[in-house]
């Protein structure tokens, strides 16, 4: 087995033998589905011109759910620092970049699985609840399982995984888990909050274009796609760029700094 393979195996063993990560991923699924069900059951489309995006309603749970995914990402590396395990890990695997990549890979697979489960559950709940709340063909919602809806779901799954990786990168840079999660959640939530409270529409639109959360959520829209600040895959691209930047920052900090 080559070095990368060994690193992957070692990290995977660490990941699966601790109970915390599984609970966090279960939390992502539970929170995303529960909030989606709650929002869908209080939303009604009363006329053909109601303009409500059923995918946005179903995926409301992504807003709080991504915070749990972020915790999973932060703790994947933050726990190494807070327990002092990092010194042992880097002694056993002196190639820090290889170790970091193995960490990221091992995080990605279970997060993608949890994310797919969460999104599938939320979409299914929306599919069951929303047609009874006026989201019918008569109001212009012919099908809730078209290609656009599949794109929205795929966008949501990828989005959650990107957020977990973004958190991993920032946690490697910040080292302290509390500071790291504060940074990640600030980065995620402050852009849309600022865009909501300021009334300068040009500035608000720019904030929605550059923020990792609002840009990434563009990939989940199924109606009014033309009026979005960014095209769906462009939006997810912005989130991916933030993730790449955070991972790069984390890798740099890890290689250039004492652990």
């Amino acid at each position: 087995m080559n070095l990368t393979g060994q690193a992957l195996k070692a990290e995977w063993t660490k990941y699966r033998t601790v109970a915390g990560p599984s609970w966090l991923l279960a939390g992502v699924v539970a929170l995303t589905v529960a909030i989606g069900v709650a929002e869908a059951s209080v939303t009604h489309c009363l006329s053909a011109a109601c303009g409500i995006d059923p995918a946005t309603v179903s995926f409301t749970g992504i807003y709080p759910g991504q915070a749990v995914a972020a915790v999973a990402g932060v703790l994947a590396i933050g726990n190494e620092y807070s327990t002092g395990m990092i010194k042992l890990s880097l002694t056993a695997m002196p190639q820090r970049l290889t170790w970091f990549l193995a960490k990221a890979t091992v995080l990605t697979a279970p997060v993608l699985t949890a994310s797919a489960l969460a999104v599938a559950g939320a979409a299914l709940a929306g599919r069951l609840i929303l047609p009874g709340h006026g989201f019918t063909a008569a109001h212009g919602y012919a099908s809730l399982t078209s290609a656009t809806d599949v794109r929205a779901a795929a966008g949501a799954v990828l989005y959650l995984a990107l957020i977990a990786l973004l958190s991993l990168g920032l946690a490697a840079a910040a080292r302290d888990p509390a500071a790291a999660i504060g940074l990640v959640l600030g980065l995620l939530y402050l852009f849309p909050l600022a865009a909501a409270v300021i009334s300068n529409p040009a500035l608000a639109r720019h904030l929605d274009q550059i923020g990792p959360l609002p840009a990434g959520l563009d990939a989940q829209a199924t109606i009014g796609v033309k009026g979005l600040p960014l095209a769906p895959w462009q939006g997810l691209g912005v989130t991916a760029a933030w993730t790449a930047g955070a991972l790069l920052l984390g890798a740099l900090a890890l290689t250039l700094r004492d652990a």
């Binding site: 915070a67 703790l75 790291a180 529409p201």
Partner: protein
Amino acid sequence: MSAGTVTPDRSRLAPERESFWPLVHAEWTKFRTVRGWVIAVGVAIAAITVGAFLGTDVSGGCAGGHAASGAASAAACPAQPTGPGGEPVQDVFYFAHQPVTGNGTITVQMTSLTGQFIVGTSNGGWRAAPGGLQPWSKAGIIIKQNTSQGSAYAAMIVTGSNGVRMQWDYVNDTPGLAGRVSASAPRWLRLVRHGATITGYDSADGTHWTPVGTATLPGLTSTVQAGLFAAGTSIESYPADLRGAGVPDNFGAQATGVFRHIRLSWPATGWTGTNIGGAGPNENGAPLPGTLRRGAGTLTVAGDGDISPAAGNAYSGNGHSLQRALAGTFVGLIPLIVVAAMFITAEYRRGLIRVSLTAAPRRGRLLAAKAVVIGAVGFVAGLAAAALALAAGTPLLRRAGGLAWPVSLLTEARMAAGTGALLAVAAVLALAIGTIVRRSALAVAVVIVVVVVPYLLAFGPLPGSQPQGSGPGGGGGWPLQITPAAAMSLQQAVPQFHQLIAVYPLQAGYYPLAPWAGLAVECAWAAAALALAYYLLRRRDA
């Protein structure tokens, strides 16, 4: 071994260690000597202060009561008349009046109040539709300074379903006789002017009179206008079958009142009909002109519009809520939450908790001391930052188009102290959650999710979450009713009125809960978390 149970020897605490305040002092020393925490609190204060500059950037054209989102339109805001107290008002109605001088009395009997919808048609005109009697449709008698919008007045009013009311100077409302008016249950109304004081009376039979209220209208001139009026008022529910395609969104209601036994103690000079605020398709006032019809012993008055404070979506001026100055609150909350959670989780991480608990074996007291310190830090930081933000934001907002409503000193004090309380309770919540989960990252994430995300959801494109219902505290808006973010209502700068049915949108600074109710919700969360933290801290090994 059932016999010989011995009570174990327990040492007593030294008397000086029984005291609570040395513990608070110790925790304060711990807090202030960690440089990163002090810097983070400084960042929180700076973020809230700087937020005043971002929040008051209202250069997106006329926003008024509705934040211009997406579609940028720099249309000029229609002028909003202001009442005697400087507050924005709606003053559009049909007024059958005559000038009267000096003290005197006007008395009428009302036998009917009906209503109809006024529906905009696709060609720009209007048509009437039945069924438009609204809860606050009003007709009655009024004494008004003059016929210009916003002038002082006092009125005795029969309403659609809120009984007889006395209202004056737009914001004041007092109930009189309950029940609907009809030919078999007529309502007698009377206004008595004495100098600057006007007293309203009502009666069911015209002989037994009950005083309803007394209005003092400072500066009322000797000659005023007295007479009959009708106003259709704002719409509570608009029938779906009238909302057909091609019908513009503008609509209204017209109220028609029937008056008998009209007696004025002043010399009569004949009635003049005036549409206060103008009327017609091209006016800003009522869509349809009002009417005055004379019958056998009756006068029938019909009119649209409303006499009310211009709150919620009834406000169309270019002013903004003072709360915009506090837009940075959430930016400040995040570092404070991180510090508050770390105040306990750092003890677990470093093992310091064992030393702390050795020094303070009463574990509940340690938790209480930490809560006192971090709560005080949060309160002082929030209060100072909000005071700075309000001081910086007020002149900026005045330059950008003014305030939507005059804000009293008491309200400003509530906004500043409320921001302090909001931060203090959030910090205590973070401390409690940190004690429960003992992991900083998880604690910080949980608190941010319950405090910050609900506000985001309420603002977001999610109709189920938005406080949209009509009337104060209307339906919907669950994120701002059941989560700690409900305490954001402490920052509400614009008032709501029970006598005005309107949409009170979050974007214009309205919250579904009253300020103290919102704080109570946040405190309930913190208290529940503290109780669980206390239980676990005592039960668990450190």
